[in-house]
Symmetry: C2
Subunit: 165 residues, 2 copies
Amino acid sequence: MTASPVSAAKTYDLECSVARTLEQVGDRWTHLIIRDALYGVRRFDDFQADLGIARNILTKRLNRLVNHGILRKEQYQAHPPRYEYRLTEKGRDLVPILMSLLAWGDRWLADGDVPLHVTHTDCGHQMHAVSVCSECAGSIDAFNLEPAPVPPVIDAIRRERATSP
Amino acid sequence: MTASPVSAAKTYDLECSVARTLEQVGDRWTHLIIRDALYGVRRFDDFQADLGIARNILTKRLNRLVNHGILRKEQYQAHPPRYEYRLTEKGRDLVPILMSLLAWGDRWLADGDVPLHVTHTDCGHQMHAVSVCSECAGSIDAFNLEPAPVPPVIDAIRRERATSP
């Protein structure tokens, strides 16, 4: 067996943007709440009725989304005080993430049975999301993206592979 | 307070593609393993050294990814038997998800300090991923997408809002 070219265990922080994103929106209830908010749900009882989630858990998840600035809480009735939860710009910007999760699930996990179709109202067609390059609008995939700087550990692995017989 | 227009608690299965996707790739170690695989890491010891993950947890995560068909296990040495983990087509197709998580995290959570830059080698520019419509290539956002069929619970909420004074 070839000795590993690396020895130091290290979780470098290069991808903390991905990890941090999952920490804010990666759990099951949270993405369902965001989905409902995108559909226009705003009130506690409506989230609760739609999702069938325990009220204490819903309270925690909504508060966390408010703390993260993904939802904002607005009073809509004074006596007794009642609040609505609205998506902020940061929350609405989750659409590309949800749509990319949906597209992959439809493609790989739905077994040909896609229960939800989405129409792009600008063009009127049933569609799925496609990810493209912000600069040239060309397609992106596992073969045409290069991180920079290359993490040192990865660089060592690549160098070893390039020089091994 | 207005009575909720809905009463039946129900998690309908319309979005199971999103939930299922998160179940397969939503945990922190899993996305880090996939990221490393996209960088070219293939061997157990290299994943372990790079991520600093406990060996038993790494074994579980790799096996799960193999079971899900996201990685495939290939023997590269017979005596003693040693294996590499390679991304399948299904695994490589996770790129749009990772790139959308990265773009959102860079935009909303990085505080102006984006430690990882990605170059699109087809055009040579530093870029981020943008989600567009598969049919017209136009932009998608929280205001121009419409699910069909609209879940009944959501439909009831919208009707009530439209008719309330």
